[in-house]
């Protein structure tokens, strides 16, 4: 059982500032109205520091990085 991390967005809190997509374009793109679309699946290990930064820098604290259990 290995550790994995996944990003999620609180859709009610999010007001589309778009900082997350600037910090982590590998996993987050913005829709036509400026709201984030997350790439599906776990965050690759080398992007975890950037993902953490996106969580911390979100002005409305709408992003979370959570540990998920890898299903065998």
């Amino acid at each position: 059982m290995s550790k994995q991390f996944a990003l999620s967005v609180d859709r009610i809190k999010c007001d589309g500032r778009g900082l997350c997509a600037e910090l982590l374009p590998e996993l987050i793109r913005l829709d036509d109205w400026g709201y984030p679309i997350l790439a599906p699946g776990p965050v690759p290990e080398h992007l975890i520091p950037l993902a953490q930064r996106a969580v911390e820098d979100c002005p409305v604290l709408a992003i979370a990085l959570r540990r998920t259990q890898l299903k065998k």
Partner: protein, 377 residues
């Protein structure tokens, strides 16, 4: 026919039930009739596991779907059956409080339910309160109902926590549609559910209204019972605004039960069967429904609030000014972009409806000239 509407609405002593009714519900394979079609036994078990005699039962008669009337008819004509289902849930889930959550405009239904309630014995009556659900599309969604009952705001909230975890007053809460509760009442009383469904016939049918149908009744049979179509339909909307358009020749032979519809990639949803007459423009009809659904967004999540509005605007542009490749591309792309990106399922339902419009009316969307020309063409 026996069934929900075929059963006299007599007040009889409640059968003595405990948690074993949940096994019976599971064997009956009953799914919720409010729209989402969730397995009822799963939901009851989730509440039962968490209840310490403090659970809450919300009797969901909000019926916010504009074309649906079946919940209102059921509450008006068989209120004791609905109350039986609610009290059986209260016993099985060890609930202390039952809340009647009835659409604020459904006056006849509310009166009938309150009249029936006043005839019940005090131990039952004493644990019930009544509340009026705002006349909004999302007000009947579980989390919105709980939010309204807790804070007076009928907008969905983030889940988890789900109502079964933390619902009304923080207690484990069962939010269950009135038709579903009536099915449970018959199950407890007779040992089996009638396996019927209440549907509302709408649109180009001679006698629009509510029917109770047997599981093997086809859409064609149901329309015949409604006096037949007033003119050849262009398409049939199965399941209401969160449902799908189906070509008539395919629709006529579809059986109106959850399993059979699911095998065809459809759902019973809220039970609305809407006939779009061939004389009406499907693009304009789609634009109208998308505008309605955009207006019913609770405006909490950006992709839903802005996305549905943009989709409705693009549909309206095609309807009013004629087809253009840019808007058609945008509609396809946005329908995918918006899905799954709200706190509730409102945006998902709206884009699923739109996707079925784009598929079934692909020709009309691609060659639409203008509202006026398409009507006279």
């Amino acid at each position: 026919m026996t069934g929900l509407l075929g059963t006299p609405d007599a007040m009889t002593p409640l059968p003595r039930v405990g948690s074993e009714i949940i096994d019976a519900i599971e064997r009956s394979r009953l799914v919720g009739r409010g729209g989402a079609g969730f397995p009822v036994a799963t939901k009851w078990r989730a509440v039962a596991q968490r209840s310490h005699g403090d659970a809450v039962i919300v009797v969901n008669g909000a019926e916010g779907e504009p074309q649906s009337k079946k919940d209102r008819v059921l509450m008006s004509e068989r209120p004791h059956l609905v109350l039986d289902g609610a009290f059986i849930a209260a016993r099985a889930l060890r609930a202390r409080h039952v809340i009647l959550y009835i659409g604020e405009r459904h006056d006849a239904a509310r009166s009938a339910m309150l009249r029936a309630l006043s005839a019940r014995p005090e131990p039952e009556r004493g644990r019930v309160t009544a509340s009026s659900a705002p006349a909004r599309y999302v007000a009947g969604a579980e989390a919105a109902a709980v939010h309204f009952l807790n804070e007076g705001i009928a907008t969905p909230t983030n889940v988890p926590p789900y109502p079964f975890e933390r619902g009304v007053g923080g207690a484990p809460t069962l939010v269950q549609n009135v038709e579903t509760l009536a099915h449970v009442a018959l199950l407890a009383r007779t040992g089996h559910t009638p396996q019927t469904a209440l549907v509302t016939l709408a649109g180009a049918v001679k006698r629009p209204g509510v029917l109770e149908v047997e599981p093997h009744t086809t859409i064609g049979d149901a329309v015949q019972r409604g006096g037949g179509a007033t003119e050849a339909p262009r398409a049939i909307l199965v399941g209401g605004y969160f449902g799908s358009w189906v070509e008539p020749e395919q629709a006529w032979n579809l059986e109106l039960n959850p399993d059979s519809l699911r095998r065809n990639g459809l759902g019973l949803g809220c039970g609305v069967i809407g006939l779009l007459p061939a004389s009406r423009c499907p693009v304009c009809e789609t634009a109208g429904i998308m505008r309605y659904l955009a207006g019913e967004s609770s405006a909490q999540c950006g992709p839903c609030f802005f996305g549905l509005r943009a989709l409705a605007d693009a549909c309206t542009r095609v309807a009013e000014r004629g087809s253009n490749p840019e808007d058609l591309k945008r509609l396809q792309r946005w329908a995918i972009d918006v899905r799954g990106r709200g706190a509730c399922r409102h945006p998902d339902g709206a884009v699923m409806f739109l996707s079925s419009s784009l598929q079934v009316f692909g020709q009309e969307f691609a060659s639409h000239r203008s509202h006026h020309v398409s009507r006279t063409a």
